[in-house]
Amino acid sequence: MKVLEVRSLRKVFPGERSIIALEDVSFEVGKDEFLCIVGPSGCGKSTLLRMVAGIESANGGEILFHEKPISGPNEKITMIFQHFGLLPWKTALENVRLPLEVHGIPNEEARKIAIDYLGKVGLGDFLDTYPHDLSGGMKQRVGIARALAMKPEILLMDEPFSSLDELTASTLRREVLRIWADSNLPTDTFLMVSHNVSEAVFMADRVLIMSPRPGKVVEDVKVDIPRPRTEHARDPKFFDTVEYIIRVIEKACGGKLPGCEINDGIG
């Protein structure tokens, strides 16, 4: 069953030198699916994610959520951010409560839900701690609790592990997979943007490869490695898939080495 459908999406950033960020991007995401989008910097993958979240508008094409076009933020689609996006002036608990209260959930109930979800991500003892005093991994846990507490159907993740150290990142990756597999939680469709290919292969059912600007989907790779993948991470199949995806990205970049482009401040 498809939950999300992206149809010939186009995005242009206007300006003196207008930039086509996305061109004719189409794909579908099924229920219970874990989809990862990879591509070189500036290919518009983060923009794409924001369009799904309803906080960035399209210049053509459409995104359907349960067959209905997305026109703005939807409480059934939430997001976690690369730099966590926590309000520094609010405690962990207040950060998780805020979206609930904005959506009209009574204070007492919002508090209960927030405590429950912070407990689920292992932060039961840090309810009244400010982000300033939390480690990177803990901040991202607050971000995850905040996103899950809304009981969304789709969880969007914008390079959620790239500002964490590798050990923390690897723990959190497994935790996110555990949450994804947890049938008690209503959130079962995950959409992640990453530029870490092994991370994508480790976590996703499907990996969508995008080309540099204007961003297009160049290939849709199904990752056929049984789960739990921790046991298969030394499998030749794992490395072959990673290798294959890197090849495709390099080809899409026209033989140029990714990372050699000049930073133009976009993407």
């Binding site: 950033f13 206007p14 300006g15 003196e16 030198r17 207008s18 930039i19 924001r50 979240a53 309803g54 906080i55 933020p73 409480e75 939430t78 997001m79 951010f81 690369q82 730099h83 966590f84 996006g85 309000l87 520094p88 002036w89 609010k90 805020l98 979206p99 904005v102 959506h103 400010y130 300033h132 133009d264 401040g265 976009i266």
Partner: protein
């Protein structure tokens, strides 16, 4: 493009001058170009001296011993309201040169110099302290030492803050120009040829408000023109070479380069330096204004010594204890608490009016991007108006409507607001602009509506900026309050009850230097106490939960 703008601007200004000279009827109007050049020369010469000494002391203050002495010293010195010790300087220079013009010129330059020096000095110190550790370590690993280190690491690092410090200093120079050029002392008016004194004379001597307004507009145009020619272009150029991370804003790049932004040559990022100003230079250093007891003690001793120096050179011979007692125990001293309360109330009222306006503008800028686009040009022109020069114009017109005292009170408050608002405004609008994208996106994603967004995101995000802006606006407010509580035109003297007018009366009418020093000490103590007890505490608290810039 720049050359074109330069020529067009110059032509426009020249034709404006020709127009004004041929249309306005005033015996001195033909001297307008001469006055302009005198004022320009006065401010430029003082600026150059301030630049060189600021750079020198600033670099000296980054050495271990230097920082122990210079930073606390300059920190206390910059807390002394400049216009408070100006009367003492006038008394000294006028008597030293028997009232010759050179004495006045030196007094004026001293006033301008002290208004300029701190911004440059603290800019340099702050910039050197903010050189990232990795750059310092990289330089060490390549064995860059002594001159090489200064040449390749320190100097490039201080260029942006030297420019923003200079922008501030230059602006302060124009701000104090009228106070420096037109002096009333002992019932007599002294004036130096210049735009400021001409403006004052237009209002007081000729009673020609229209001419005063024309002059104010000319001065503003000159300031804006020179700013665009120099500081803005320099700021733009320096922007790409700073160590500061480029703050992410949600202005698409294309937009940032187009429209008003390009038209006005508004530098995008480097304004951050400016907004945090020179006071922030000490706060942002790891020491964060917490000085050791030794440093504090030394600073206090130095200041007392300095005040005594000023007081005694002005009145040769060390005053005896009786003399001191006699000077201090005048009947009016009984009013001191009342005067202090008046001045504090005046400042507080003006501060809250300014804060209210600046906050509303900041929130508007946060909620509607279009407003942010127009606010920067407004700031640019608004802060270029030399506020002190508004004084004669406002007073002459307001006193006709409300009568002398009420007119003066309204003038004083208006001037305080017009002066205090810019620091708040700039800091708040800058803070709004630097709210990280992710935080904006979160608030959008959560679906927060206007008021919720203001309460949960905008207000907390700008809190540190409000505190920084408040510190700066109070600092400048003290000067304006001294200037605006006391008014003497022709034979008449009007004054509002307050510390500022007490100080002016003491110095300018009675020449009581001991009392002058005492009042100055009180005022400085008030400034420092407010700073330490209120602003620095609030700042430390606000910064704890401030947005971390990625």
């Amino acid at each position: 493009m720049h050359a074109f703008g330069f020529v067009m601007g110059l032509l426009a200004i020249l034709s404006l001058y020709i127009l004004v000279i041929s249309v306005v009827h005033n015996p001195e109007i033909s001297n307008l170009p001469y006055y302009t050049l005198r004022t320009l020369a006065r401010i430029s010469a003082t600026y150059l001296i301030a630049l060189v000494t600021g750079l020198f002391f600033g670099l000296l203050a980054t050495t271990k011993t230097g920082s122990m002495i210079l930073i606390p010293l300059f920190d206390v010195l910059q807390s002394i309201p400049i216009l408070g010790y100006f009367p003492a300087a006038i008394i000294f220079f006028i008597s030293a040169f028997n009232g010759a013009e050179i004495g006045l010129e030196l007094a004026a330059m001293l006033l301008l110099y002290t208004s300029m020096e701190w911004a440059i000095f603290f800019g340099v110190v702050g910039a050197v302290k903010n050189i990232p550790t990795n750059i310092v370590e990289a330089a060490k690993s390549f064995d860059l030492k002594g001159y090489g280190y200064i040449r390749h690491v320190v100097l490039p690092a201080i260029v942006p803050s030297l420019i923003s410090g200079s922008t501030l200093a230059w602006g302060d120079g124009w701000f104090f120009m009228i106070a420096a050029e037109y002096i009333t002392y002992g019932g007599k008016n002294y004036s130096l040829p210049g735009l400021g004194s001409y403006l004052a004379k237009a209002a007081y001597v000729y009673g020609d408000t229209n001419l005063a307004i024309v002059l104010l507009i000319i001065i503003t145009i000159l300031v804006v023109y020179i700013n665009f020619l120099t500081w803005h272009r320099l700021t733009e150029k320096a922007g790409s070479g700073t160590y500061k991370p480029i703050l992410r804003t949600d202005w698409p790049k294309g937009l940032a380069l187009s429209g008003i932004r390009r038209f006005t040559h508004m530098p995008h990022i480097p304004r951050i330096h400016l907004s945090f100003g020179f006071r922030h230079a000490i706060l942002s250093s790891p020491r964060r204004g917490i000085y050791s007891r030794l440093e504090k003690g030394m600073a206090v001793v130095t200041v007392i010594a300095l005040i005594f120096f000023v007081a005694t050179v002005a009145k040769p011979g060390l005053p005896s204890l009786d003399e001191i007692r006699g000077s201090l125990l005048i009947p009016e001293m009984a009013n001191l608490p009342f005067y202090t309360a008046c001045t504090l109330t005046r400042l507080t009222v003006a501060y809250f009016i300014s804060l209210g306006i600046a906050l509303s503008m900041g929130i508007l800028a946060a909620e509607k991007k279009g407003f942010a686009m127009i606010f920067y040009p407004i700031y640019d022109i608004g802060q270029s108006v030399p506020i002190l020069a508004l004084f004669p114009i406002l007073f002459v017109s307001l006193s006709q409507i409300f009568g002398g005292i009420l007119g003066l009170e309204i003038t004083s408050l208006t001037m305080l607001v017009a002066d205090m608002i810019w620091y708040l405004f700039l800091n708040i609008v800058t803070a709004v602009k630097t709210i990280p994208d992710e935080i904006r996106e979160v608030s959008q994603l959560i679906g927060m509506k206007g008021l919720q967004r203001v309460r949960h995101v905008v207000l907390p995000a700008i809190r540190p900026a409000v505190v920084t802006g408040s510190m700066l606006s109070w600092a400048t407010g003290w000067n304006t309050v001294i200037f605006s509580e006391y008014m003497s035109y022709g034979p008449k003297v009007l004054w509002l009850p307050g510390l500022g007018s007490f100080l002016d009366k003491t110095a300018l009418q009675e020449g009581n230097t001991i009392l002058l020093g005492f009042l100055l000490l009180i005022m400085t103590a008030l400034v420092i106490a407010l700073d330490r007890l209120i602003w620095r505490r609030l700042l430390r608290k606000a910064e704890r939960y401030a947005v971390e810039v990625m």
